[in-house]
Structure formats: structure tokens, C-alpha cells
Symmetry: C2
Subunit: 207 residues, 2 copies
């Protein structure tokens, strides 16, 4: 699952010239579901979207508060084109989950978001419709990320870790390429570790 998260001053979505939804300050999320996504990906993504610290605190300090901290809104729009593979310069979208499966899954993600936060502050587009999405990107601030891929079951991860150790013994002088499993582990840690990184100078860059 991939998300493009834009911090917005306001955003709205129109179908056939009629505005169907709008938000004030908050986030506009373009959400792309792949064929391999599961509930785990949905859980991760909803948690990240709602807890990402993209807003200032009361003293003007950047990257301090989440959309939930600020009581801001979220406009979420399904976007299968994020699972694009280029064939030369022509986009191909066979990795995206087919619409008949993606629609109920997408609806369940919205429900999850509403249950974690406040239902009235989560707005939607119209799945499958040709939309005009008006986004006033504030900064701009745009974050793109993907949910962790691969198995996240702890027993499975322990097994993979042992396999990795055996491979390292077999090829002790081989270059240390990050494995897919290692990546999944790191992702999982990142999603469950609460941050204590405060006042990071690297984060205070200008736009």
C-alpha cells in the first residue's frame, strides 16, 4: 500500500462539476492499494497517516504535531495509479488491486481511520469516479511512503533471521546487501517504536 500525503490548507473533490466533499487544514491522502495488501498494511497505513507529525506546535516548532493532535481533517482519495510500472514511458497498473476487491478494502480502511480518529473529520472522494481533486498544498509538504511488505508474523521473522545467519556463514565475505526480510523488520520496528527524537536540527530545513 502506498500513500502520498500532502499537508493542506484546504482541499476538496468534485465529480462532474459538483463538489462532493471538502476539508480545511489537515491532510490530503492519495492511497494506492496493491494486489498483495492485507489488513496489516491497512493498520500500518492508518496509524502512520493519523500520527505523522507534520504540523507545528503552539510555539511554532515544526514537525511536532499530528493531524489528530491538531484536530484537523483528512481528505482521503483512492489512487490506483500509484502502483505504476513503466513500460518505457507507458504506465502499466497491473500491480494495483482490481477495483472489485479494492473498493470494499478501501472502504474498510476509511472505517478504520474513522474509528481511530473522529468520523466527522475523515472525508472521502468517490471510488472509481473521474474526479477533480483540488489540493492546496501548504509548504509544500509532501510525504510518500509504502506499508511494509512481506510477512510480519514474529515467528516467521525469527525463522528468516536464522536463515539469514546461515547464509552469512555460507558467504562470509559477500557484500552486505539489505535483504527483503531485513527491510520488513526495520519497517516494523519503525512503526512500533515511539520516537524520542526531539529538536532534530536536520528536520528544521526551510521549504
Amino acid at each position: 500500500m502506498k500513500a502520498i500525503i500532502q499537508r493542506v490548507t484546504k482541499a476538496s473533490v468534485a465529480v462532474g462539476g459538483d463538489q462532493i466533499n471538502s476539508v480545511g487544514r489537515g491532510l490530503c491522502v492519495l492511497l494506492g492499494i496493491s494486489s498483495e495488501d492485507t489488513e496489516k498494511d491497512a493498520e500500518y497505513m492508518v496509524s502512520k497517516i493519523l500520527n505523522l507529525r507534520l504540523f507545528e506546535d503552539e510555539s511554532g516548532r515544526a514537525w511536532s504535531k499530528s493531524v489528530m493532535d491538531k484536530n484537523f481533517e483528512v481528505l482521503c482519495v483512492s489512487q490506483f495509479t500509484l502502483h505504476c510500472v513503466l513500460k518505457g514511458n507507458k504506465p502499466d497498473f497491473h500491480l494495483a488491486m482490481p477495483a472489485e476487491l479494492a473498493q470494499p478494502f478501501y472502504d474498510s480502511i476509511l472505517e478504520r481511520m474513522r474509528s481511530v480518529y473522529k468520523p466527522e473529520l475523515i472525508k472521502d472522494g468517490k471510488f472509481g469516479a473521474l474526479m477533480q481533486v483540488h489540493i492546496q498544498n501548504d509548504g509544500p509538504v509532501t510525504i510518500e511512503f509504502a506499508s511494509p511488505s512481506g510477512p510480519t508474523d514474529p515467528k516467521m521473522l525469527a525463522k528468516q533471521e536464522k536463515q539469514q545467519l546461515r547464509r552469512d556463514k555460507c558467504c562470509p565475505k559477500g557484500p552486505q546487501e539489505p535483504s527483503r526480510e531485513g527491510g520488513a523488520r526495520r519497517h516494523q520496528q519503525a512503526s512500533t517504536t515511539s520516537s524520542s527524537a526531539e529538536g532534530d536540527e536536520e528536520s528544521e530545513k526551510a521549504f
Copy 2:
């Protein structure tokens, strides 16, 4: 280098309440430069942005024409936040190229875009300023991609290929994890192979 490419009906950018640039139909590109990016990445990215087939042809066939084919415009805005690493829920941007290096590099990318296409059809934000970027995403259609990472020198790639063969001989039964070098090679091929994929049904999904 990362880019978020949104197909737009129109887009504009304002600084301090004053609109400084605007485009009609075309693309809004949010461009993130990392510390490791080189001219090769810039070359790849400019080529992809200008040649990506995100527009219909005259008969209404989707994914057929590029922004250049249609004589449409491009609004390009620098966006360091795309090189975000999450520390828990706090974004960290130490992978982004520092502003004093990124600004001349970014300007050179714009110049390259103007020289490949038409200078008057490439618009810009204001590097380093706090901007409001108004994006009317048409579809929506949003593509995210990164330029190939790692060395792209043919001699270097041949050397790496030999090293990979030696590793495979050393560990013939090991799982086939994609290596960084392999990824770079595949990317490079994708960027230089002209597409002959026409009328792909997978590409005709609804929004």
C-alpha cells in the same frame, strides 16, 4: 531523486499571498533531491517527466500522450520532504541534499527541462520559500517514482555483474534476493528501452 507527478487541469503557486506562477493543463511535479543525486539522475528524471504518457490521444484513448505531445505545461516545485525517514512518527530529512547545494542543482534541472521542451511551458515555484501550491489533480492521476540509484557507468556495472556471478557460484542454493546493483541495472534498462506496449488492457482501469 524522487518525483511526485500529478496530472492537472490547472495549478499555481503563491508566496505570501501573491501568485507567482501558474499553469493550465499539464503536470505539477514535486521534486525531491537527495544528497547522492548526480547529473545522471537529473537526466533520467527530466526524460521521464516529459515523456510519461499520462494523457489521452485525440480518440480518447488513455495513457497515450506525453505532456510534450499535448503541448501542455509543467509546474515544477522543489520538495525536500520527499526524502523523509520516519523516526517513529517524526519525519527526518537528513537524506535530502542541503539547500545550498540543492538550489543550483535544482535550477540546472529546470534548465535541462526547458532545453528539452519549450522554455515558456516550464514554470517554477520559489526555492526555499514557504509556498501555497494549488493543484487541481485531474482524475486523480498521480505517479511517484525515483531515479535509479547507484553507479550507472557501464564498466562498473559489468564488474558488478561478474561479482554477482561469483557470489551465485559461492551460494548456489541461497534465496535470490534482488541486489542493489541488479535494481540499478533494471532501472537503467527501463529508462533506455522505448516502449512498444500498446493497448494494454491493464492500463485502462477506471479512477
